[in-house]
Symmetry: C2
Subunit: 349 residues, 2 copies
């Protein structure tokens, strides 16, 4: 698909590793005062001037985390950055630098890597982070991306997964299940394309969900809203594996239980429609879908008035004593034990 | 080979990703005051208290960077850490934290990963760095390791590749060519083993070179010596790709030339012996061998008296004006243009 669109193809063998990095990063400039030295030396240099530094890293592997038959390389570059920045925001910190390590087999051309880096650069621009280093090497099979993100916070502002208090509100940003619904549509179109390569599907009714899957965003806006409100959550994490498993994780490490109300779960109408089309229970998509990169937080009851009408935040339940267990309460007031299915197990079904 | 030694085999499918990380990192503890929060949250937290932070990252891929038919997993874990720490020392900074991302196919057992992490832990202990994060995922083929290292330095002490002055001394730590010689021996033994699996080679005459290849060390001692002497090099880098290409790199970015004296090149007698056995020119092994992880630095002429008799450091030449070019001067006083062969190209010969 790539070669149809871009007939020009420069083999990576023609460039050395050093020239390849120079070429791919030539149009990246440093914008953060904390970025002292970028790509090109043994290491990058940052100066956080006394603040605390957060570090997070994620690896994306072709055939495991993405399928290049429907993921455009530019989107992949964007997403690889975003999933790391989401972890930085989940610490209530501001992302400032990334490093990108890349392994590619010789089936990739220079033009393909330029597409990938265009996506990386778009994310760097949107989130105001600097690419300061990385490594480029060959792989025997496929594409491997490893991104590390650094961020900065005042020491009192870091928010961990630990710190929840009983009766804290369980609050989620945005809506859930979209990335999973988008994946179902993309997988179906891939199967159709295999049978009939001439098919021209109209994907516009699924555009929100497909974008949630291919080009997710990290909740910079929510991080900034919390700062504006001077509201520091008791605990926070991002939702990458699915709401159920993340809620259970918070319960477990804080030695608490919780009640999550099914009718409060935030879901986009398009996602409800896709779930009907695919005969998936929409609550299951929300609870176990994963990859939405929304923020899940524990907030004191006192914050309720401030957040209850804000369009970005939804109170989906509250924490309880441990002995009350971790339950989903449905519309009939029945309590169903939450189960951690996670994305991997779920995807196998 | 691994399964012969360790008959117990626990499949990775039996553990989830979260439990796997917990299991592998359970015996790692945080030792640096700058390590505020380690493995287990969305991100790690560090506090460098106003110093500057250096960041470097390297990816190692099975079949490209290592061959598990003769690289023990414990050594691989050790080396993956060391190659990153070497980059931190090359900035004249003290390494403090690492993150380790790991992708493995299901041909690896839990016991195999325990071996790998035993090597990572050994390196963390030896170099006093903390493992603070990472990512563990599945791969479709083989083993992929991506390590990011952070380090700390006072702002005036960071040494870049740029900053060389004309007439600066070109100084190298340790000796060179050993890792390359060791690789030749290991490749030969692999070929012999294929023909005759019963062969029991005596590798003791090659032990220094094999250790240089399988278990290199980063020059923490040289970093500490420079600090003790209050000597800040004008420029520094580590030698991973081979002396020639690194010297040419320093010349190029500093717009200078250089003279390197062949008779000054530091080489271990065992390496000379291996070169004779394999009919390799020993200067070629030193100039193009790579993977020795020694430090290459530009020092002012005034430092000569201090370093000339130190066993860890060798003055191998000096920088010149650019128009004089970059040359190796041999024993007959002939000037031979330095060429960047690098490790990859060299390995193909």
């Amino acid at each position: 698909m790539l070669e149809d669109k871009k007939p020009s193809r420069t083999s990576l063998d023609q460039l050395g590793e050093f020239k390849l990095i120079q070429h791919l990063t030539a149009s990246f400039s440093l914008k953060n005062p904390s970025s002292v030295l970028g790509v090109g030396d043994d290491a990058a240099v940052c100066d956080f001037e006394g603040g605390q530094t957060v570090v997070t890293t994620d690896m994306l592997i072709e055939g495991v985390h993405f399928d290049l038959s429907y993921v455009p390389l530019k989107h992949l570059g964007y997403k690889a950055v975003v999933v790391n920045l989401s972890d930085v925001y989940a610490m209530n910190a501001r992302p400032t630098q990334i490093t990108v390590s890349l392994a590619v087999s010789n089936r990739f051309s220079l033009e393909a890597l330029e597409e990938l880096y265009a996506g990386i650069q778009l994310a760097c621009g949107h989130y105001k982070v600097d690419l300061v280093g990385g490594d480029t090497t060959s792989s025997t099979t496929g594409l491997i991306l490893s991104v590390t993100a650094l961020g900065q916070a005042d020491s009192g502002h870091i928010v961990k997964r630990q710190g929840v208090q009983a009766n804290d509100l369980l609050v989620v940003s945005g809506d859930l299940g979209g990335a999973y619904a988008g994946l179902q549509v993309l997988e179906r179109e891939k199967a159709v394309f295999k049978v009939n390569p001439q098919s021209q599907p109209d994907l516009s009714p699924y555009s929100y969900s497909i974008e949630r899957q291919l080009k997710p965003e990290a909740r910079k806006d929510v991080f900034e809203l919390l700062a504006e409100w001077k509201l520091v959550p008791h605990a926070m994490m991002d939702i990458s594996d699915g709401l159920s498993s993340e809620v259970l994780h918070l319960c477990q490490i804080n030695d608490l239980g919780c009640h999550v109300y099914e009718e409060k779960l935030p879901i986009d109408p398009e996602v409800v429609g896709i779930c009907e089309e695919f005969q998936i229970n929409s609550s299951t998509a929300v609870l176990n879908g994963g990859e939405d990169y929304e923020l899940l937080m524990a907030l004191p009851q006192s914050a309720y008035e401030q957040i209850k009408n804000h369009p970005w935040l939804t109170v989906i339940g509250h924490f309880t004593d441990k002995q009350k267990g971790a339950y989903l309460i449905n519309g009939l007031d029945q309590a169903i034990a939450l189960e951690a299915q996670g994305w991997q197990a779920f995807a196998k079904d």
